[in-house]
């Protein structure tokens, strides 16, 4: 029988009937948390895709300024912070597996800090764009698509930071045990997804759109 590799097949002999079954050797199914987070990522990707399409569609179509090349400056530091937070969370997970609580605390908190710095820098950029350059969400098509796409991403960063912070607080209070490793892994998958989305958003806005 051709089954996909992640599912173990039931091994029974031909003479078996259900009244005296030979217990199947291995029946391992993907954990429900993993499936759920993958589904979540699928649906969120779909959501982001629509906003990305809107952004791409409206490139060059604003009737009046400010235009991207006038006002956009590449957020290098913010990007480095966010992308390295993917690294720090991997290190945190590794330390968690090795029961290195100090290391886990450091890297996990570091992830939160890097994410928070990213948000702060985004906020600063927005503040400058709004007050200094007159780019608001209602200014033109560029403003509309820019703030909605970056804002949608930022809102996901906030949710991610909330999850990370909750996990850290529970950990500091001693509620997180080694068997919770897979759940931390799911949070980290969400966080990696948020970072991957930033790569796309960054490319679309600061590379393609300018």
């Amino acid at each position: 029988m051709n089954e996909t590799p992640i599912f173990e097949d039931v091994s029974m002999t031909k003479d078996d009937d259900l009244n005296s079954p030979v217990e199947p050797v291995d029946w391992r199914l993907p954990p429900r948390g993993v499936v759920a987070v993958i589904c979540l990522i699928v649906t969120e990707s779909s959501l982001f895709m629509i906003f990305v399409v809107a952004y791409l569609f409206y490139i060059g179509k604003s009737l009046s300024g400010p235009y991207p090349s006038d006002v956009l400056s590449t957020p290098v530091i913010a990007t480095i912070c966010l992308l390295s937070s993917s690294l720090t969370i991997v290190l945190a997970e590794r330390d968690f597996e090795r029961a290195n609580t100090g290391g886990f605390r450091l890297w996990w908190a570091g992830t939160i800090v890097l994410g928070a710095v990213f948000l702060a820098l985004t906020a600063a950029e927005w503040s400058h764009l709004i007050t200094g350059r007159g780019l608001t969400i209602s200014a033109n098509l560029f403003g509309t698509t820019f703030y909605s796409l970056v804002g949608l991403h930022a809102s996901h960063v906030i949710v991610g930071l909330t999850l990370l912070a909750l996990a850290l607080i529970l950990f500091l209070r001693g509620h997180v045990r080694p068997e919770h490793g897979p759940r931390l892994k799911l949070i980290s998958w969400y966080w990696h997804f948020v970072d991957a989305v930033w790569v796309v958003v960054f490319t679309v806005i600061y590379l393609i759109g300018r």
């Binding site: 599912f7 759920a36 649906t43 629509i50 809107a54 179509k61 969400i137 033109n140 509309t144």
Partner: protein, 557 residues
């Protein structure tokens, strides 16, 4: 259970059974109760939306009728469409999937019971919010009532300038809420079907209902996001002055249409695939044969899901796309008809050589087969873009989608309800009343929707609150309106049947239909924990194997 009752009955004294029961429903995370609540709420909204449509048909029974004002009529068709799709169709499929999937795969509950409850209440509050618009939308200024922009809310009619008050905002917000419910339900169904199967139930031994539920849920994940994205954009336009669909600022009204239909077309498949799922369980049992071509049925459904993501602009043939664009979407539309046709042939193949029992579930399935065949063919007609240029936005389209949704979806749901009600409630639905329901509703359905094909071909556009005499539309509108009475009578029979059978229907036993999937191995209704011991299966029809140990399925699969 015992602890909860203890907590509720101490202190102030005993609460009434009704209060206890209501409380139980409010806090439950049991997939069976939630499933029934989904279906029940969906049926209530169905009655409401049906009444809205009855008023519309009353207004249209004669030309230049003055029964309702244009403003009221426009709200009627908007609320009717929005309710039927989002507050009837979506919860009913969620209810069926949530009730049946764990039972069919030998699990005790869904993967995430609390998430399940969350999803239900999001849908429910979304529904209440939509109807609250009658009261809330006037706001301080008094402008606005229920939404009146059509169920697909085209731009720029939904812009602040053209849609005053908060009617459109209620449309957006209520659907965002219930949309979250749908997505959450979809995640739960996939996680359950993948991660909670009983031993021996490989993916290719899943009941087709479960397979099709997985496909439906996957489509929900992709499609609902597009709707939510577009609605968020509209909300930003209306409240923060964003320019997404602001044509004065260079925005594109057609972009809304693209985003909406990228949701909207998969949505109709999201609705119909669970209907296919009901057929795929019921037709075999009442033909006394396994489904013909199980692997092909799975493959065809996956193909439908895949192709249906690429047909959306067949709702937009008249917006002025290029000839290349129009040709592409016509081609993809024809293509999606192929796997759909294959499924019809497979059901036919199942019936062929069988011993057909015309119990009520099978009657409704046969109705479905005839009607969905016609619906699919009128769909092919609508896919021929130049033909579409005449038929689009006319009563022909109205006839087509009511054929798919009422003649198709609703008939399949009736079949499913007659089939699984005994399992859920422990009593059979009355046969006589069921026959009355079937014939009254079928006759009414055809009286109402068959003439609408002709009205459309004679040039009658849709969404008009009145029409002049002399256009040749009068007789078809008259017949169409008369059919409402028969449909209404049929529904009355149905509701009476549901209630009467609940109270004093014939006890059903575990397996009244002599069926083969795992839900029929439990008591009726199943206990809270579903199965005493989790089953182990060896084929697609575990109960067939048990009933026919000399000729089990696993020898042939």
């Amino acid at each position: 259970m015992a602890t909860r009752e203890f907590a509720l009955t101490t202190g102030t004294g005993t609460l009434s059974t009704a209060t206890l029961r209501l409380h139980d429903l409010v806090v439950t995370t049991d997939h069976k109760k939630l499933g029934l609540m989904y279906v029940g709420a969906g049926l209530v909204f169905f009655i409401v939306a049906g009444l809205l449509a009855s008023v519309m048909r009353f207004q249209l029974v004669t030309p230049n009728n003055g029964a309702v004002s244009p403003q009221v009529f426009n709200r009627l068709f908007t609320m009717h469409g929005t309710t039927m799709v989002f507050l009837v169709g979506m919860p009913i499929i969620a209810g069926l999937m949530n009730y049946l999937v764990p039972l069919m795969i030998g699990a005790r509950d869904m993967a995430f019971p609390r998430l399940n409850a969350f999803g239900f209440w999001m849908f429910f509050f979304g529904g209440l919010l939509l109807y609250f618009s009658y009261l809330g939308a006037p706001g301080i200024t008094g402008a606005g009532s229920a939404p009146d922009v059509g169920w697909f809310a085209y731009s720029p009619l939904t812009a602040r300038a053209f849609s005053r008050g908060h009617s459109t905002d209620y449309w957006i917000l209520s659907l965002l809420l219930s949309g979250v419910g749908s997505v959450v339900s979809a995640i739960n169904v996939i996680a359950t079907a993948v991660s909670m199967r009983c031993r021996g139930m490989t993916m290719m031994r899943l009941p087709l209902f479960v397979w099709l539920s997985i496909v439906t849920s996957f489509m929900i994940l992709l499609a609902l996001a597009s709707l939510s994205a577009a609605q968020i954009m509209l909300l930003l336009d209306r409240f923060l002055g964003a320019r997404f669909f602001d044509t004065q600022a260079g925005g594109s009204a057609v972009l809304w249409q693209h985003f909406f239909w990228i949701f909207g077309h998969p949505e109709v498949y999201i609705l119909i695939i669970p209907a296919f799922a009901c057929l795929s369980e019921i037709v075999p049992v009442f033909s006394r044969k396994p489904i013909f071509g199980y692997p092909i049925m799975v493959a065809a459904t996956v193909m439908i899901a895949f192709i249906s993501m690429g047909v959306w602009a067949h709702h937009m043939f008249t917006v002025g796309m290029t000839s290349v664009g129009n040709t592409f979407f016509a081609a993809s539309t024809f293509l999606v008809a192929v796997p759909t046709g294959i499924k019809i042939f497979n059901w036919l193949g199942t019936m062929y050589g069988g011993k057909l029992r015309f119990e009520l579930p099978m009657l409704f399935c046969i109705g479905f087969l005839f009607q969905f065949l016609i619906a699919g063919l009128t769909g092919v007609m609508l896919g021929v873009a130049p033909f579409n240029w005449q038929l689009h936005d006319s009563y022909f389209v109205v006839a087509h989608f009511h054929y798919t949704l009422v003649g198709g979806f609703l008939f399949a749901i009736f079949a499913g309800i007659y089939y699984w009600y005994p399992k859920a409630v422990g009593r059979m639905l009355g046969r006589r009343l069921g026959i009355w329901h079937f014939w009254l509703f079928a006759i009414g359905f055809h009286l109402t929707f068959d003439p609408q094909h002709i009205a459309g071909m004679l040039g009658m556009p849709r969404r008009i609150y009145t029409y002049d005499a002399g256009r040749g539309w009068e007789v078809y509108n008259l017949i169409s309106s008369v059919g409402v009475a028969a449909q209404g009578a049929g529904i009355v029979c149905f509701v009476v049947n549901l209630v009467r059978s609940y109270l004093k229907g014939e006890p059903a036993g575990e397996d009244p239909w002599d069926a083969w999937t795992l839900e029929w191995s439990t008591t009726s209704p199943p206990p809270d924990y579903n199965f005493e011991t989790l089953p182990v299966v060896r084929s697609r029809r575990p109960l067939w194997d048990l009933k026919h140990p000399e000729d089990p399925d696993w020898r042939y699969e």
